[in-house]
């Protein structure tokens, strides 16, 4: 294990490498030394952001990501690379700092990177427990598939469990595990599926059609939903569908393998998920007998064209922000939102039968 000490002159400003190697037992001490004699640099921290990955190539990517996140969310970042195929159990550590200028001051966030070799059942929880910045919220971004068994003590410490269901090979198998983890936290842990966060702008764009009382009744007359999504974004499309169904009181109705929804007044609401090349969800249309409400992603990707036509409404069209789809932007959005996401689990419950198809 490396025990290299850090000369004061070597302030390890992030270059997207893991940073300076340190002995695991001396991390806090070395971090303390790091912040001595740093002139106009200010250490700031609002959250603990731990990232767990099982891919070595993700260490550099995540370090770059942390650097971007730190510009808006000062944090103590703990990046954990689990090298589960290593023959021997062991832990290596590095420290790093990400600084950016704010009003002539340099504001810095710390990063501690761990490499966990082998399949130690307790090493992950230990490095997390030992290096959290006390009293600050703990956000854990789990970038790997969830494995069983779970360490309930670890999960009960997590305030926000972040994951991306679009990355899963087996969403039907993963969601039940996620539910189980959420239950460990004694309803404290907020599940933050980045796939759900991705839908935020699109949900807002759809919702704004119905802010006016003239348009509101149309929600009760929707007959069909069409969602166009990229090949890798079926779970996103299903979540969007689940959200609409949950909010509008539709129940999934499956007859001989054909799925549709039933509204509270027993009307049928059909849906089509259309797979097309592109990124994410490119279009969503809600149709009543007389009106059509469309949200289409503009070619550049940063805006939606929202159009309402027909029926008792004045037709109109407007441009709305679609939000950037880079993973750093999605994560920033999620961290900025805060709060719990009760609709997520409700929406998920509705479309769970469709996940395996």
């Amino acid at each position: 294990m490396s025990t290299e000490s850090i000369p004061h002159s070597e302030f390890p400003i992030s270059n997207f490498s893991a940073g300076l190697p340190v002995e695991v037992g001396r991390i806090e001490k070395e971090l303390g030394r790091l912040w001595e004699n740093t002139g106009d640099k200010t250490r700031a921290s609002l959250i603990n952001l731990a990232i767990y990955t099982e891919a070595s190539e993700n260490v550099a990517k995540n370090t770059e990501l942390i650097s971007q996140i730190a510009t808006e969310h000062a944090c103590r970042a703990i990046l954990i690379y689990a090298n589960r195929t290593a023959p021997e159990i062991g832990v290596k550590a590095w420290i790093n700092a990400h600084c950016h200028a704010v009003n002539k001051k340099e504001i810095c966030s710390e990063q501690i990177t761990f490499q966990l070799d082998g399949k130690s059942p307790t090493a992950f929880a230990n490095v997390v427990f030992a290096h959290l910045d006390s009293d600050l919220p703990f956000c854990l971004w789990w970038q790997a598939p969830f494995h069983e068994p779970h360490d309930s003590k670890l999960w009960s410490w997590v305030d926000r469990l972040i994951f991306d269901s679009n990355k899963w090979d087996d969403p039907a198998g993963q969601f039940p595990i996620v539910r189980q983890i959420a239950a460990f936290g004694d309803v404290r842990t907020v599940l933050c599926d980045l796939n759900w966060t991705r839908l935020l702008s699109l949900r807002s764009a759809l919702a704004q059609f119905f802010d006016h009382s003239n348009a509101l009744p149309c929600l009760g007359n929707i007959q069909a939903v069409e969602i166009v999504h990229a090949p890798g974004a079926r779970v996103s499309a299903l979540l969007l569908l689940g959200w609409l169904a949950n909010q509008l009181g539709w129940q999934l109705d499956s007859v001989l393998g054909r799925h549709s929804f039933r509204s509270a007044d027993r009307r049928e609401v059909t849906f089509r998920l259309i797979e097309e090349t592109g990124a994410g969800i490119s279009s969503c249309r809600l149709m009543t007998k007389l009106s059509k409400f469309s949200v289409d992603r503009a070619s550049g990707g940063e805006f939606f064209h929202a159009t309402a036509t027909g029926g008792p409404l004045d037709s109109f069209s407007q441009i709305l922000p679609a939000g950037r789809q880079r993973i750093a932007d999605i994560l920033l959005k999620e961290l900025s939102r805060g709060g719990s996401h009760p609709l997520y689990l409700q929406s998920l419950a509705i479309i769970e039968p469709l996940l395996a198809e």
Binding site: I107, L200, A207, F209, N214, Q247, G300, L313, F316
Partner: protein
Amino acid sequence: MLHMPSDAPNNPLREGLLSRSVPEPCTLVIFGATGDLNHRKLIPALYNLAADGNLPPSITVVGFARREKTDAQFRSELETAARKFSRQKINDELWANFAGSIFYHQSEFTNFEGFETLAKRLDELDSQRGTRGNRLFYLSVGPDQFPVILENLRKSGLNESKPGSWTRVIVEKPFGTDLPSAIELNNIVHEAFHEKDTFRIDHYLGKETAQNIMVLRFANSIFEQVWNARYVHHVQITASEPLGVEGRAGYYDKSGAMRDMVQNHLLQLLTLTAMEPPTDLTADAIRDEKVKVLRSLRKITGKDVAKYTVRAQYAAGSVNGKEVVGYLDEQNVPKDSQTETFVALEANVDNWRWAGVPFFVRVGKRLPKGATEIALHFKGVPPVLFHQTEQVIDDNVLVIRIQPDEGISLRMSAKLPGSSLRIEPVKMDFHYGTSFGKATPEAYERLLLDAMAGDATLFARRDEVEEAWKFVDAIKEAWDSGQGGPVVKYDSGTWGPDEADALVKRHGANWRRL
């Protein structure tokens, strides 16, 4: 402040997306659209709201002003301004879309026909753009123009809401120049608009830290317990600026610091600091509590003004390394002007919570630096233990910084490391900019959005304005009758006259070093 969702029928798709009221499609008519406020603040704010997806669909902006110009010319001028003053970089596609919603209507404010044609044009825009008859009139003009505009709005029927629609008016400060004029102005406004549809802007209330005062007080159990006369020795509210009158002498010399700043911004901050917890977060519940504070303010009348207030005027001096002239030598300022550019006063809130706690208010031009803050100075610890070692122990101070560098700090005492017992003040400091890297929205963004949503929490109610004038008028009357003595001088670039220091020293306090 926090906001509950609107009482309008619920849009189920909005659940979980927003924690504030949702604005409806509307037309915003800006009177004085070629003026500075529109270019620097309103249009950039509207663009930023559009860029963040917060504007209601079909929002339409109609500029109303005297000068002759086309829609295209108006849009072009506004684009130049938005590129200069917007907090977000202008996106060409988004601007093009937003600019398509902007129109220009040329007319004199006194020309009734101009309002008739405006009414027709608004009807046309309603049907073209789907704004559904909702109208928000923004009086971005001097108060002398209010009566004629409001009168013409009324005569042309533009003040009336159509069935299922709303009509509101936003009024910029100053809301009158004294109580009678404020009452008159409010009566004129009310001839055209109901109080519930009247939104009096005080942009200080749109600032994040001002909104955070209630969160700090009522969402943290440790502060509210000590937020009273038992623990607080005194409160200091300061708004300082290094600028002089900067070409506004015509307005400023009639107004002075008391009317320009104390009557509105500083008394608003005082009410937020001193108010009781509201019953809920609705606009009227909060404003009810603020009004109670204003009613509890002990009036400063007659000879008391000499004891409780200081008024002063800047003399020549040095600010930021530059030699500057005194107030009387500023362009367009009468040589015998008695207008105050500095006010310090001791206010007393005569209620159960604050009995005996002075609220020191200080505002001035040509001071060493620009800063607005509220500081609660807590009572000292009993004079035992550490006092016996000839230590000077500074009292705890909780500071809420409104601008610049918005944040909160707490001063407390700590032992210096070492074998001897030395106690020094240390500061725990929270900076919005450091902790939340994202730029906070401009005050006007929040306020415009709230007005479109019909949420009046951050706007001054009629009784607030009038109660504030009662307090200020009493002082002004005493000053004008000579009971406060002459206006004293202070050198530009200093923190005001010695008399201001004496005001707080009487209570064993000192003004904070900012």
